[in-house]
């Protein structure tokens, strides 16, 4: 299994001052699949994301990308190796326009970003491709708007556009539909279904109908550990999962 996984974790662990947020997680993401990470709040999903993308260093364990050890690499290296991510809390450049965001993302794989002696008009070489990507996520008309002026759903769409601009092998989406209205959720699901062609998608998602519509495999995390893993239907019916969610719901009420 490990041999054919595009992204895999072995015994992945992360401690925060004595608190173990991720506890010996083994994970194998199959190529070209959509893999959902679910679990109650505090299960360690976002921490796991930050470990997989290099934003956090693991306290223990190992991460492999297509058989290559990427444990402890900084986020920019992980990104350059073909792992793009979106953030749970929208993370953009407030003063740059939507088009400038995508151009910046498209430029990152070239050396152009170092050329302080060249004119920024050179970035126009990315304008056409940026336009296509913005069109794809439904932002064509808002290309020149500064990110800070975009509505919430549009910002999420822009996040997706810049992640796609990196043309990643693996796309990690941290709650892509969080806080969205129904219409935006539908649009986002359609979009993910479209962009998954030829790449692997890993997503943290709370909305179970989104998970059901997209995911091939679901991993349920609880208290930093893998509770259950399998196809959506099977996981949904699992006793332990129901208990975990009901248990969390009990605490919440």
């Amino acid at each position: 299994m490990a041999g054919q996984a595009i992204l895999s974790a072995r015994g992945l662990t992360r401690d925060f001052r004595g608190f173990r947020a991720v506890d010996g997680v083994d994970l194998d993401i199959a190529p070209d699949s959509v893999h959902a990470l679910v679990g109650p709040n505090g299960a360690g999903k976002t921490t796991l994301f930050n470990l997989l993308t290099g934003f956090l260093r693991p306290s223990g364990g190992r991460i492999e990308l297509a058989g290559r050890d990427v444990t402890g690499l900084p986020p920019e290296r992980v990104a350059r190796l073909g792992v793009a991510r979106s953030f749970q809390i929208t993370s953009l450049f407030p003063q740059l326009s939507a088009r400038e965001h995508v151009e910046l993302a498209l430029q990152s794989s070239s050396g152009l970003g170092w050329k302080f002696w060249r004119s920024a008009t050179l970035m126009r070489r990315y304008t056409d491709r940026a336009g296509e990507l913005l069109d794809m996520v439904g932002l064509a008309e808002l290309a020149e708007a500064p990110a800070e002026a975009l509505a919430y759903g549009r910002k999420r769409a822009l996040e997706l556009a810049i992640a796609l601009a990196l043309d990643p092998k693996v796309l990690l989406l941290d709650e892509p539909t969080a806080g969205m209205g129904l219409e935006d959720v539908d649009r986002t699901v359609e979009l993910i279904a479209r962009v998954r062609e030829g790449r692997t998608v890993v997503m943290v998602e709370h909305n179970m109908s989104v998970v059901g519509r997209l995911a091939d495999t679901v991993t349920v995390l609880q208290a930093g550990k893998v509770l259950v893993e399998g196809p959506y239907e099977q996981v949904r019916a699992d006793e332990r999962v129901i208990t975990a969610y009901l248990g969390a719901a009990d605490v919440a009420h």
Binding site: N50, P74, P75, S91, Q95, L96, F116, S119, M123, I162
Partner: protein, 338 residues
Amino acid sequence: MTSIVDTPADAARPAVPSGLVTVARAPGWVRYALLAVGLAVALWLPNGLYAAVAVDILCWALFAVAVDLLLGFTGLMSFGHAAFWGTSAYVTGLVAIHAGLPFPVAVLAGALAAAVLAVPIGYLAVKRTGIYFAMVTLAFAQMVYYVANEWRSVTRGENGLQGVPRELFGLDLTDDYYFYYAILPIVLLGLAAAWRIVQSPFGRVLVGIRDNPARARALGYPVHRYKLTAFVLSGFIAGLGGGLFAVGHRFVSLDVLHWTTSGKAVIVVVLGGIGTLWGGVLGAGVVVLLEDWLSFSGFEAIGLVTGGIFVLVVLLFRRGIWGSAAALALRRMAARRR
């Protein structure tokens, strides 16, 4: 615990005015008109002012632009830029005195020395952000100051380097009026370089890093290396100003490395407008003129006046002179379009 580790606290981020570079957003004819006015003022300056003051303004304009490159466009407040200004002043002075080379060569040597010094300082400093970055740069600048103070055989300690020559192929540049025109092309080149850096693909990445370093990293940009490159470029431009300052005064004293020199550079940028680039040039003009006028009138507490104005600007016009004027102009234009 689930937050991204690299994001600096918002409070530590400088209050950057909206707009990438306000001038870059203005229509073409406005840009050319501003450029024409700027060049005209630069050409006229020593006719309207005491030429030595005009020379100081040029030097400080380069210094301010260098600091704004970091403060306004990379989100890093250096509180130790005197290290680069002053190191270049000393190296320029020593080269000019001992090698007898034309002064532009000496200045270039000084600026290169400043850039070389910026590599280790920047390497260690860019790992920190906000106030910690400011403190690290200040600490290194203080180290440079003490080295210069102790290394008397070279720097002449408190006596300073005296008699820095204004050699340029035998031309007589003893008159500040002619010296001004001799350095103007170098200064304009330095300013143009800063403008190009800001308006380059590299500059676009810097703005991204300033506004959201974690996102820039997720896009694959090595944030520390970009910051370091900006730091070294800034050190070079500051060095250009410091070298010219040394030749302009024909004298280098320890003042060029003093922390108050770093502070004054930050004040000049804030006065002119952070993140506007040309605001720093304007701020340099205002501060140098004001200081000259106050000292000429025999007023002792110059710091009190410049400090007071600084406080007023920070409280009332946070975008500085250039930023406030540009915001007003853009609002007017937007209103007229409606």
